[in-house]
């Protein structure tokens, strides 16, 4: 730890040499347009990349890379920094050869099982909506105790994009699916794992579930399922089948590997909760956050993200004394359903130790729980759905560290 640098509040001599002497960029001719036909971040931004957590998984093709939330603004995640979770590696599929099949578990569930090319899908009436995606295992390393140093690793399996695609309901209707008999659909990926998950028909009928090809204005990135993925707003990422190749209409859940062996939540009594899917209301302060150092005393903005799988965020409260007293934060607009919401709160740091927390409430009135409350019902051994209030401890040195408060 230790303070890295102190910004100057006064200046020596006549002034700052960066003002008094010509800057290189102010006294030269720059680079031409389309030097990068597809642009890149500044070379000075190299610190902000996706990273693995050492020791989390054994092989990087069945692993996670975390989004650098400590350096992000607003609610949109740049697609180049969208978190990754692959079970059998990622593929850059030839979109002209990709197909989507819709079929029934029984013939009577779907009148005309169909095959769609990408050309077909992109002709159907599209919708564009902004939604968060969070892995069910986000913050999973922290169930029992503090394990990782920064918000990239504690909360970085979280991203938010504008998705464009076709409501799955449109496709089911186009195939003549029996939407009375249907109770579930199975979504299947086209990668090596052919990842499958059961989705409740209610979310499909509501129009929320989307067969998406667009992400933040362009096509999905290969790591996120190019050319087609399912978008299941409010539900954990594993259900958002990537490289989507098939939808089956059925009447009972499928107990697939990733809903029968993983993404099941171990309770204190030794039972596993199965088909846990909703990402309950949660929030985290991203600045200042673990592993950082405040440069100075004085004015700061506490800024973070809040979200709920059950709808819109209604309010966020922030505490600087570890949860004894709280202040209501400002929510940046737009505040959308099942989408990240950015909150901010003014804070004058007096140089004394502090304990920063955020606590979100969603439109159902659900209030994000403290660690003590969550552990009281779920123990400490579930890997999934940890939505407890995060605490960052600010030391006198300005160092911010990850701690837990019950």
């Amino acid at each position: 730890g230790g303070r890295a640098a102190i910004a100057a509040t006064t200046v020596a001599g006549d002034g700052d040499p960066n003002i008094l002497t010509p800057t290189p960029w102010g006294s030269s001719l720059g680079l031409p347009v389309a030097a990068n036909p597809y642009g890149q971040p500044s070379k000075h931004e190299r610190a902000l990349v996706r990273r693995q957590s050492p020791g989390l998984t054994q092989v990087p093709a069945a692993s996670v890379s975390f989004a650098p939330l400590q350096g992000l603004f607003g609610i949109i995640t740049p697609s180049g920094l969208h978190f990754e979770r692959h079970h059998q590696g990622w593929q850059d599929i030839d979109p002209t050869r990709h197909r989507l099949m819709v079929n029934g578990a029984r013939p009577d569930f779907v009148k005309t099982p169909k095959v769609y090319t990408m050309d077909d899908i992109m002709r159907l009436p599209p919708v564009s909506r902004m939604h968060f995606i969070e892995c069910g295992a986000n913050t999973g390393m922290e169930w029992g105790n503090v394990a990782v140093p920064t918000v990239q690793y504690t909360h970085g399996m979280l991203s938010c994009s504008e998705f464009t695609g076709v409501p799955l309901r449109t496709l089911l209707e186009d195939c003549g699916a029996d939407l009375k008999a249907a109770k579930f659909v199975l979504a299947e990926g086209g990668d090596g794992s052919s990842m499958t998950r059961t989705i409740p028909i209610e979310l499909v009928l509501s129009g929320e579930v989307m067969v998406a090809y667009g992400q933040n204005g362009e096509m999905l990135r290969p790591e996120n399922g190019y050319p087609l993925r399912l978008v299941v707003p409010g539900v954990q990422g594993v259900s958002w089948a990537k490289w989507l190749r098939r939808i089956e209409v059925g009447d009972r859940p499928y107990a697939t590997k990733d809903e029968a062996v993983h993404y099941i939540d171990l309770m204190p009594d030794g039972q596993h909760r199965q088909y846990t899917s909703i990402q309950e209301c949660k929030s985290v302060i991203t600045s200042p956050s673990g592993g950082q150092t405040l440069l100075d005393k004085g004015y700061f903005t506490i800024s973070g993200l809040a979200w709920s799988g059950r709808g819109a965020v209604k309010r966020v409260d922030v505490s600087t004394d570890g949860g004894m007293n709280w202040s209501q934060a400002t929510l940046q607009t737009p505040v959308l359903s099942k989408c990240l919401t950015r909150f901010t709160l003014a804070w004058n740091w007096d140089g004394r130790p502090a304990l920063l927390q955020s606590r979100a409430t969603d439109e159902t009135g659900f209030v994000q729980p403290a660690y003590g409350q969550l552990r009281a019902v779920r123990g400490t051994r579930s890997i999934y759905h940890n939505n407890a209030i995060q605490t960052w401890q600010v030391a006198e040195s300005g160092d911010v560290n990850n701690v837990q408060i019950l």
Binding site: R51, E188, P200, G234, D265, R273, Q274, Y275, Q292, G323
Partner: protein, 232 residues
């Protein structure tokens, strides 16, 4: 229909090629069979390198086998899952439905050559895994008929509960209407003091590299230096 010239009917052969899911009620299970001994051959050739001779390796993934007992096979609950001193959780400790394994091995294994096994190969290698897990004897033949008996011996077959509020769809047995936590938005004097329950151990601070290099060069904060700086 409403969308003229969009999409086309799937052919029976196409549906057969892609509709490979096998459900907990065994719908979709192909006819076929495989013995433990044939399974061992496949295992040693195509699986053991990653999962270990006895499915015990965690070099590329969690162990598949271990942690279950004959008593578990009787009760349908893996007792070790209650023990907080037993951190390992193998596949067989968790999986309640044998269909899950058939389905998954057929679609995804071997990891580096998914969908390369025949249906009979999948029966055989699953028979071998069930034998390693002491669920079936050495001379067992797993078939689309006998797999139903196996289901009755799965050690954790009754280990799942849907008694929770985290499913967004229609009710499951026991499903809760209300979330299991109920915090309140108290604003002042919410508790007498804030006590730390856990802190990052000193030794773990450097385990994620130099955090200074994982934060921006500008802004209200810098990253703490927790490791050597890389050459610029």
């Amino acid at each position: 229909d409403g969308f003229a010239n969009v999409g086309r009917p799937a052919t029976p052969a196409e549906i057969k090629a892609w509709d490979i899911d096998v459900g907990p009620d065994f719908a979709g299970l192909p006819k076929g069979s495989g013995t433990v001994s044939r399974g061992m051959e496949i295992w040693e050739e195509k699986c053991a390198s990653c999962h270990g001779t006895f499915g015990e390796s965690n070099s590329v993934f969690n162990p598949l086998v271990g942690g279950t007992t004959a008593e578990d096979i009787k009760t349908g609950h893996v007792a070790a899952l209650k023990r907080t001193d037993f951190p390992a959780r193998t596949t067989f400790m968790k999986v309640a439905t044998v269909s899950t394994l058939y389905d998954y091995i057929r679609r995804a294994m071997p990891w580096n050559a998914p969908k390369s096994l025949s249906d009979d190969d999948v029966y055989a290698v699953l028979a071998y895994l069930l034998n390693l897990a002491e669920i079936v004897p050495d001379d067992y033949t797993l078939t689309d008929a006998t797999i139903r008996d196996v289901q009755k011996r799965m050690p954790n077959r009754d280990g799942m509960t849907t008694a929770h509020a985290l499913w967004p769809g229609p009710d499951f047995p026991g499903m809760a209407a209300k979330p299991d936590t109920a915090n309140a938005a108290c604003m002042t004097n919410c508790k007498p003091k804030a006590e730390l329950a856990s802190q990052l151990p000193e030794h773990a601070r450097g385990a994620h590299g130099n955090i200074a290099e994982q934060n921006r060069l500008i802004g209200p904060v810098r990253g703490q230096r927790t490791g050597p700086d890389t050459a610029a």
